[in-house]
Subunit: 669 residues, 3 copies
């Protein structure tokens, strides 16, 4: 295994499915010609090729693949070689029905779609291991193959007896005794006490769906079981003699799996990015996507790959709009600006049939290179070559936001004050966006990550505190950090059991307050945040803002109110506070404040934190500034998400930035 | 069995789950201290304790319960002791899968949730009877136990073979022969003729859902079977030697069961009330809830219990808003004002985990008595003590509205003129609210209730006529009563078979008209009600009103038009009529008139009926007046549902009533 | 079989269910009296009578039917006699469960509803054949029986093992080898390659739903299997000795079946028409329904029957509004004006019970003939007698629109640029309405129909090209035809495989352009169509129009732009073009233009085509003109869909046309 992955230049390319065109050699030739024209230097292949690689059990046919890889290699195009477990062949499901998933009500699926395999089935593990090992044996020394693309977009779950049994084993390991489990799961509620592990079934809409700790543990188990399956795939690759790095492709804000845990089994993180642009202001979408990029980078705190993106419109969104001229490059450069070492597309050549036949591609059904999309893409390939020194550079951030999958699982499953909509992602993005607008890099981490390197940490709606998070925050503030918390924080432990004796748990002294009651507002209702009169100048806030959805009614001890509520029976009660603790400060935003508040709030945080922006000077709204560092150099990216031109006046660049344009400037430290 | 239930003071308390805190004796002690501070004198316990009371089959462990009851009793807190059938233990479902319900498609549920037991299963009946009898034997003479709380919120249905078989037996009993059933069910339609009772299956979305009489009888059967199950629970209590009264807790506008029938097996009615306040005008919600209170009281025509309510916000509503200061007391006093002899909460102490961990409680996770909620609740306990002489007083009404579960079942299942929305509850509430605004008490009864004691009876959208209802109405009007009918009345018999030869069936002479065609309006469409010109002064209506949804086109014989339609091809046709019949009058409201119409209409009805309001003078909008009587005294409640102060000028009280305030005045007759 | 069906007068009547009233002979007598009063001369009977005709297996009881038919016949009322397969008796399902359908997930339905039988089951085919043959033997020579009404509203599908097996046989026949199927279905995508036909399962939400060609072939199979079932029903009729014509009743825009194919097994087409009037402008609905009438007529290019319609309001629509006075006649005459030789209702007498007890009828529950509905209906019967010479006349059209079921199946199943809503029917109706407003007849055909007789053919959103459609269009234009195509045309072949090398496939030279990229707009977004400046006068368009949803970005070769886009990055690109090809012209409408555009566009098409309107002069908006021809005479219908009067000034009629009035004028050629 290559633990230090270093590409000499940005990888540029995408998913390629030559197996669909084996009867059209002229097309395969044309593909290579076009790829070269577009500066493509890498393709992912074999992702759904099992049925061709092993057309009947034990009959491996790798010849066509070898030939294709050979041709690519001769033409300077390297290969991410996939293991084919993402879609099993018909014969496998026909002969071993256990490989097909069982749904949450207990019915086994028919053959179909893609991700329809049991992740526990010994047969499926054996069959995937066998083909993976053969592939590794075959291609381990092939210079063209530079990385293993393990399976495809892992996700979903199986509820078959094998999985249920594995789940019980998981619980036994985690809880030891059934008494311990009952106590932590609080099964005295509704008298749902388990007499033995054998009675435990996975959550089901026609069975148990009311024990939140069961659901939470099931999700943890699904992550673990999926990881074990992935690990068995990787072991087979290693057993086949290959030590090339492995990755698997992740997805946007994906809730099935706790990706963070996968960092330890994969050598490099990669993900598939499919934003819907041109719906509202593009910069809002850019923040949303930027957060995911930063999350992917922070999984291993290293450069990552953009494994898939769409050269033009997708085929699966409700309305799959074309990308406006320039947007493809802007989107591609956003990945690079956040730490990606590749820009890759799904797909190189558009398939003639199948579920994704209208998904955008570098080469479409028309088949020419004189398309707008091909020409734009070729330009990107060219541009990436020009900045290849940036490849491998990392991102250093002084600020971080907490985005913790277990917290989300717990919060969204619980029956709580606002079952209709928690607006969690909006809340998270308001903090993330507030930080990003300070022209600084931002890390997106979870509760297990170390905080020492940060000056500012925001943990919006951190409902669950686990793993001593409150102690870590305490130490962080004590040592001078700025911590920002909000309503609905520190409510439950890792088994979704409520903390007693006051919340936010373990941080009431750090924050200088206690949450008394959480009011929620119906859709359309609002309250106001009014600057507090007797503020000691900490905040210096002059404007009023609006808030909605949540209004936490707090009782301050040592905290200083910065804002108070303007309406309702808690009018005049503190709504935003700050508390000095140790060498640092802890802010509490008690209500779901509007975006304007967050912008001004983080201006103030920036001032107080002493952080320096990546550029000095002013950049207009809708412009993102990020940087990567390597060998003492800092590469600063300035990206304009506005469709029209803007004027930039900064120390690294002064002048016009066209609509959707990116510029990069190098600064040597 | 104690058929004359008389509490000497208002019961105040709620559901209490000490089994969740057996490992925290200091919390159990604190609970008692706080309960005493809040004047709590009753708690419901054991509702979901089966798994603790019988941790393995036949191994009964009542010690902890006895100890808790003892401690409560020593501290002056009495107990409603529950039978634990609401949630069976795991071992029971594991050993006897027949106790789990089968869904309407024929699939047996997994273990989970709460109300997931077959109401026919002999095993389940046996096991519940055994534990109930043991509980009765143990606690029959305990002075602390004053009432049996049988199961919890009965509801739902099971479609297992045992239930299907019981359903067939029910039908044999009801219909005698299959020929009779076929004739009454009109199974010649679509040739669905049954050859034998054995062919009959419960309604199912993948089977028969088009025979309305089947669905209607299934619902009747579910009510009967649930009652039989409840009766078997009660028999076990009696077999155990306890003659203490029994109740079970009902729910708001609950459609699964015909609660009215349950009156005969329970000694006292109780229900669980969870309004969503502060959404629109609170008085509209108060009318909605008031109707349910009146319905619950009328089941046995006696005082009843408010078994559950929420001290603050629930956890299961879409948006669970906090109650504004004063609202908890107002809501509690509304129950008392409508005839309740208790105010009880779910829950005394908030559970740490489980599906309802965020449901409001007297003592929350924080655990102090210095919360807003605790302080308000303590005040209510105090207030109830001050008015304890009202306890046991009944409500006497001269007006009634018909709210008949079978009518609702039939109307909502039928394929009719407005499948999208019948707006039945709105229509019912317009009549109920029109009467309530007259400052009188109102009974909420069904078609089986006697009418002699009333001066005014309104039967909105009384689609089904059953049990000779039309004859009862005829006699009522003949003897001087005022009857108010609307469109979509007297359409079908008790088997949902249409009446021939004209509708409203049996009342065409009483009403002096016949319905010719029922027009329906699309959402957003309206018609107008224009005062009739040649009115003989009966109505003296001067204004126009709006109507929507339904416009019945009628042909009058002896009826006098009060309003005519203002639009459409039936412009000028009668829309509201009155007919003198015998010593009384029968009104017909042919269209879905707006609330303004109903207000003015009932002002006129009040004038014509000779009924006297409970108070003389004026009370502003949003103020409710009710009364209870006992031993020659009348206790008048005036409640202000406005958030702000209002001025009251009446014979019993003149002055200011604060926002959300209740006053009570005694008048000796 | 009577291949030349000629009724001497319009048939007038409807579905009649005397079996529901066998115990009320006075009602049966009254029915005949009323039917005669209303000029009813035909009824459909026996549709759901199986349970009465064969109350136990093999025990046929036709006596009651014979008696009813006899009585009807004596009174001049003829009979469409139904085969009873639409609803099987209980005993049949009980004894032979295989007759019940299995759903797409593999679960067998319970008994219930109507269309719940397997169309493959040998038992069901045998049992239906037996009763059909017996009925034929019994009534083959009965003068009262003039037509066989085969089953009722065929639809839906069964997924049982028998059907799955038949599906595989169908595929073997269609594709020969599994290799050929794999290639055409493009199963290399996601590696879904079938190893054998035995692996193929019907599409299922918990199995395969991503192979579009599978779904498409399943739909074709369902049509074929339903036809085979229908054919087996007809064979039994013939085997019973009857050579009377057969029909089955079709439905509005029905997507389950490709009705077009059924033309070859039925002697005459009939359909059931249930529009929702008075919701928006009635003329919009009239166009929608008119298209269906024209489609039904074009199935066999002969007069057809209106088998069912509602005399007043239905009971199954969301809001079942009454028809305004005059609308029933207008709707009935629309059928006649488009080529129907009958006007029939569901139902003659309203049933007392069952799922459709509130569905409108000639005779309602009240039971009198003094209702508005009866009187209007009697008037229609009278009117039809007066125009009986029109009966049998056909419709000759010079314009046609393509409405191809397979195209719709493929387009709506595919994952494409606008999964949320393709707006296909709206697009189709804009072309159809544009043509209709020219006061001409319009045919509604599919891709298999010949085009020689037309001057203008519009093929909106013709996503699939099959059966050499592009060659037929080429020849049509070459020979002088005017062809109108739109965006999203010529994209896939008959296996839903994309055409390579440019689209619209095979017509790029005929249209003089190629589609480059298809942009789609979010709901609410719009673009503009701006008249092209350098137009050579072809179009003479002066106004701007709006467009939405789809904006095809095209590259013209020989085409002349008539409009260009007014917004977005393709501003100035051609949006509507015309190309001269051979003796004809081909127009391309690249965007989803608004209705105003289509109106003006077809004014211009009319001018260029040289077609003559049916009437000269002007008719106002909301008036439809159609004609039928017979024996050298042309019968011109002018129908006013406005509720108010309009003035007509034409060569065939000048004067006032009342709201909802129809006039007919004869013109001898």
């Amino acid at each position: 295994m290559n633990s230090q992955i270093c590409f000499e230049e940005f990888l540029y390319g995408g998913d390629y499915n030559p197996e669909q065109w084996l009867d059209s050699p002229q097309i395969l030739e044309k593909d290579i010609e076009y790829m070269k024209e577009a500066s493509v230097n890498v393709v992912s292949i074999g992702i759904f090729s099992w049925a061709l690689l092993e057309p009947e059990e034990g009959n491996y046919q790798f010849g066509w693949l070898e030939q294709i890889i050979g041709r690519l290699c001769e033409n300077g195009i390297r290969v991410f070689l996939a293991t084919p477990s993402g879609a099993r062949p018909h014969w496998l499901a026909e002969k071993y029905p256990e490989v097909l998933r069982v749904d949450e009500k207990g019915h086994r699926n028919h053959f179909g779609f893609r991700h329809n395999h049991c992740f526990t089935s010994p047969v499926y593990r054996e069959k995937t291991s066998m083909i993976n090992r053969r592939l590794a044996e075959k291609f381990k020394d092939h210079e063209g193959v530079i990385l293993w693309h393990i399976s495809n977009e892992y996700g979903g779950a199986c509820y078959c007896p094998l999985c249920q049994d594995a789940f019980r084993k998981y619980l036994k390991r985690e809880y030891g005794t059934i008494e311990n489990l009952n106590r932590k799961w609080y099964t005295t509620f509704w008298g749902h006490i388990y007499d033995s592990f054998e009675q435990i079934e996975a959550p089901s809409p026609d069975g148990e769906f009311t024990v939140h700790a069961l659901t939470l543990n099931w999700k943890r188990f699904v992550t673990e079981q999926t990881m074990e399956f992935a690990a068995s795939e990787i072991r087979a690759i290693r057993a086949g003699g290959s030590n090339k790095p492995v990755t698997t492709n992740f997805m946007y804000n994906f809730n099935d799996l706790d990706y963070k845990k996968f960092g330890k089994i994969f050598d490099i993180v990669s993900w598939d990015n499919y934003p819907s642009w041109h719906k509202g202001h593009d910069y809002e979408k850019a923040l949303d996507i930027g957060l995911q990029h930063d999350f992917m980078r922070c999984i291993k705190r290293k450069p990552y790959l953009l494994m898939e993106s769409c050269p033009t419109a997708t085929s699966w969104q409700g309305v799959s709009k074309l990308k406006r001229p320039g947007m493809l490059k802007l989107e591609s450069m956003q990945a690079v600006a956040h730490g990606a070492d590749s820009v890759q597309y799904f797909q190189i050549r558009q398939c003639r049939g199948g579920f994704e036949k209208f998904h955008g591609a570098l080469i479409d059904h028309y088949g020419g290179n004189d398309t707008r999309v091909f020409q734009e893409a070729a330009g990107i390939g060219d541009d990436l070559k020009k900045i290849s020194e940036v490849c491998g550079a990392n991102v250093i951030s002084e600020a971080a936001v907490i985005y913790d999958r277990e917290n989300i699982w717990a919060m969204e499953d619980a029956q709580g004050p606002r079952n209709e909509n928690l607006h969690y992602m909006e809340c998270l993005l308001k903090s993330y966006g507030g930080l990003r607008r300070q022209k600084i890099n931002v890390d997106v981490i979870n509760m297990e990550d170390p905080l020492e390197d940060y000056k500012v940490v925001a943990a919006p709606m951190n409902y669950m505190f686990r793993g001593g998070f409150e102690e870590k925050i305490r130490a962080f503030v004590e040592q001078g950090g700025i911590f920002i918390a909000t309503y609905w924080s520190g409510i439950v432990d890792e088994d979704d059991r409520c903390f007693l004796n006051g919340t936010p748990y373990g941080l009431m002294d750090v924050l200088g307050l206690r949450s008394m009651e959480l009011d929620v507002l119906y859709d359309g209702e609002k309250n106001r945040l009014v600057p507090a009169r007797d503020s000691d100048g900490e905040g210096a806030f002059a404007c009023e803002y609006s808030c909605e959805n949540f209004c936490d009614i707090i009782k301050v001890s040592t905290a200083q109110p910065l804002f108070v509520y303007g309406e309702d029976f808690y009018k005049g009660y503190p709504a935003v506070t700050v508390n000095r603790y140790g060498k640092g400060k802890a802010f509490y935003i008690a209500a779901d404040a509007d975006a304007a508040f967050y912008r001004d709030f983080y201006d103030e945080i920036m001032r107080q934190s002493g952080m320096m922006p990546l550029v000095r000077g002013s950049v207009p709204d809708g412009v993102e500034v990020t940087s990567r560092q390597k060998n003492g150099a800092e590469y600063i990216f300035i990206q304009n998400y506005n469709p029209g031109n803007v004027e930039i006046e900064t120390d690294v660049y002064c002048g016009i930035l066209n609509g959707y344009e990116t510029i990069m400037r190098k600064r040597t430290k």
